[in-house]
């Protein structure tokens, strides 16, 4: 059976939606400005050193992943917690379902976790009669709307408060409320009850600390702290790449994460959770599980160079600064990870043949690489992936036309005489449409392929009547005659 591949999405609906364009450009612009003000040289002179340190730490952790994951497991289990190793989403779902069955749980509160979005955890739990409730405000809005995150950090970035007002009115049957603070109160009242009902709390993990067997959660709303302490069971779900060697390394990462994500020197809540309630302690869960998930990450690990995509700490800075993300938004990307980091992670995790257009959907401006707090070389990896993808296509005999085009081009460009002849021919063919060397339209037989793409948005530069080399020869001759 021929495999169905995601084709290049139709971007027109997004690009022509003026309201959405304004909402996304404004929201990302605000995040860009805030980030800039908190990493500026006068407020954080050691910013570049911190980035290098973060990169060194992540490289070290990823190069020694087996060692640190096992150290994490030993230390967590010594504190009474348990590690659950999962290959994919199905393993995760099976574990959560069996646990819920044993504890006869129904309501599960969740704090924001991209990893659970990756495996569509909520859908699977609902199919089995459980009631997962998102408690991050943005995620709660999306759950009501049956929508997926638009952004790694700000999941409902694409929605205005008026749209939220409509949604609450319709789904929660409350009087219309357009003030964001009051909308928050509405959600809060409902969610408080859910926290009390829930028997299981599920969170993600920003970091796993190998030396202490702790899970670190970074958030602004306090819902992650409640989700992980109020219910009797806490399950943290983390990708294998989340482990860092030591608690003290947080000093580096926490300085970078809040600033890069939302322009905060530190997020409002930082929780370091180390196992279940012990002995005489009066709070904390009775059972504490950390699911360590592969779900394609070890495939990324195979490539010694491109595995640096796993250094990502999910700050979203590359999305906010990306001129492509800011135009096409989060939902045109094929997977939950959007923006530049999505463009280098998705092909590596899902396979080069699944979304071959994705690494090509970049103007290679390099802004993402400049803001990445862990110094992932995103622009260079995009180029590497383009090359991998074209080789992969060639090996399957696909898209022969572009390859042939570049082969012909290389022939011309390595043969100066042929190059000059081809240039003169093109110049002759296009010399008559007139105005100042730019054409509005070309004859139909020329308006094909790349030219058609160009002319759909822009006037077309005509080849000069005489190339530089011709003009240069004339200039030399004129000078010699003087």
């Amino acid at each position: 059976m021929k495999e169905i591949r995601a084709i290049q999405p139709q971007l027109h609906p997004t690009l022509s939606d003026e309201k959405l364009q304004l909402a996304v450009y404004t929201a990302t612009g605000r995040l860009v400005d805030k980030r800039k003000s908190t990493v500026a040289a006068d407020v954080l002179p050691e910013y570049q050193e911190l980035r290098q340190q973060a990169n060194d730490l992540k490289r070290h952790a990823i190069e020694h992943l087996d060692y640190y994951l096992e150290e994490f497991e030993r230390n967590l289990e010594a504190r009474g917690g348990k590690v659950v190793w999962c290959r994919d989403g199905k393993d995760v779902v099976d574990f959560v379902l069996s646990l819920a069955k044993r504890r006869q749980s129904k309501v599960i509160v969740k704090s924001k976790s991209m990893t659970t979005e990756e495996i569509h955890l909520n859908d699977h739990l609902e199919e089995h009669g459980l009631e997962p409730v998102e408690t991050d405000l943005g995620e709660y809005i999306l759950q009501l709307k049956h929508d997926t995150p638009y952004h790694i950090v700000a999941p409902a970035l694409h929605m205005t408060r008026y749209q939220v007002a409509d949604l609450f009115e319709e789904k929660l049957h409350v009087p219309r409320e357009e003030v964001p603070e009051k909308q928050t109160q509405i959600a809060r009242t409902i969610l408080r009850q859910k926290f009390l009902e829930a028997d299981i709390g599920i969170s993600g993990a920003n970091f796993l600390l190998a030396d202490s067997g702790s899970v670190v959660l970074v958030e602004n709303e306090g819902n992650a702290r409640l989700s992980t302490t109020a219910p009797k069971v806490h399950i943290a779900i983390a990708g294998v790449e989340k482990v860092i060697p030591r608690a003290q390394d947080l000093a580096t990462f926490l300085k970078l994460l809040g600033r890069s994500a939302t322009g905060q020197p530190l997020t409002v809540y930082t929780s370091i959770l180390s196992g279940p309630r012990r002995g005489t302690e009066i709070d904390g869960p009775e059972e504490f599980y950390v699911i360590i998930l592969d779900n394609g990450r070890t495939k990324v690990l195979r490539d010694a160079d491109k595995r640096q995509a796993l250094y990502c700490i999910r700050c979203g800075a590359c999305l906010n600064i990306c001129p492509v993300y800011r135009k096409i938004g989060g939902h045109n990307y094929p997977w939950v990870y959007s923006g530049p980091i999505g463009a280098i992670l998705t092909p590596q995790m899902e396979g080069l043949d699944k979304n071959p257009w994705l690494p090509h959907a970049s103007s290679l401006c390099g802004a993402c690489g400049e803001v990445c707090p862990v110094k992932i070389e995103i622009p260079r990896l995009l180029l590497e992936l383009r090359s991998d993808i074209e080789q992969d296509k060639a090996s399957r005999g696909e898209d022969k036309l572009e390859k042939l085009g570049f082969q012909g081009w290389a022939k011309v460009m390595t043969n100066p005489r042929l190059y000059e002849t081809a240039g003169a021919a093109a110049s002759w063919a296009m010399q008559d449409s007139g105005s100042e060397g730019w054409a509005k339209h070309l004859p139909w037989f020329m308006n094909v392929g790349p030219v058609k793409g160009w002319s759909s948005e822009r006037d077309i530069p005509e080849p000069a009547a005489k190339s530089f080399r011709q003009l240069w020869r004339e200039r030399r001759e004129a000078k010699a005659e003087q």
Binding site: H12, V324, Q391, M413, E457, P463
Partner: protein
């Protein structure tokens, strides 16, 4: 100060915008340089490299390296092409030690035009005259790969009669991106229009850059939209000696 420089005019400028090449030559000659134009030159290979066709990029890069093998200074009126030669050739040849050595040997000899002026010729005032208000567009590869930010602005500020105004989105991409501009035409078109709106807000008569590829993207859209803004390469401004516009 070197007396003789080789120029690489880039395929885009050679075929579409030869006046930019001539303007660069005018400026360099005015500063007393003897210019050598090697006729065998064609392209740096960037279009294929950026599109993922590395074999094809390698053969064109090898041609470049052989043409300029013994050139002491290669001055290029493009940040993007200069960066290809000084930053990306080495990536193309990482598995080929002898070509890699050649690529590394080329790196310090490749100079983007404005950087050559400010760092080798050490001039900030080239004696140009241009009456009007201009704004400068940072081309991405010049800005982020070559770290060129202030040099072109200093050169512009020293042009007699010229007022330099900053646009709010000077560092934001124009949306060209090589084949990206045609593979994702509507997206590329939306990006350049954000750029143009920023240019318009300055009230400048002209937008200036050091990359003809960005300028082609910007001018193509400005002309399509019928806007009264001129689009010029830095070399054209620096070559100008006050003839009426």
């Amino acid at each position: 100060m070197p007396k003789r420089v080789s120029i690489f005019v880039t395929c885009l400028i050679d075929q579409l915008f030869p006046k930019v090449g001539l303007a660069m030559a005018d400026v360099l000659e005015r500063l007393g340089y003897e210019i050598e134009f090697r006729e065998a030159q064609t392209c740096c290979g960037q279009p294929a490299f950026n599109s993922g066709f590395r074999d094809e990029a390698r053969s064109v890069a090898a041609h470049f390296l052989s043409v300029f093998d013994d050139a002491e200074y290669v001055v290029i009126p493009s940040g993007s092409c200069a960066s290809m030669c000084s930053h990306h050739f080495a990536e193309l040849y990482r598995d080929d030690p002898s070509m890699l050595a050649k690529a590394h040997a080329m790196e310090p000899r490749v100079w983007e035009f404005s950087r050559f002026l400010t760092e080798v010729a050490k001039v900030e005032d080239v004696g140009a005259v241009w009456n009007g208000k201009v704004t400068y567009h940072d081309s991405c590869h010049a800005l982020r790969e070559l770290k060129i930010k202030d040099g072109p602005r200093r050169l512009l500020r020293n042009v007699k009669g010229l007022e330099l105004v900053e646009m709010d989105k000077a560092e934001e991409c124009c949306g060209f991106g090589g084949t990206f501009s045609v593979k994702f035409a509507e997206l590329s078109g939306a990006m350049v229009r954000t750029k143009i709106a920023s240019i318009e807000r300055t009230g400048a008569d002209a937008v200036v850059s050091i990359d003809s590829s960005c300028l082609m993207q910007i001018e193509g859209a400005i002309r399509r939209d019928g806007l009264p803004i001129r689009v010029l390469h830095l070399a054209e401004i620096l070559a100008s000696t006050g003839d009426p516009r």
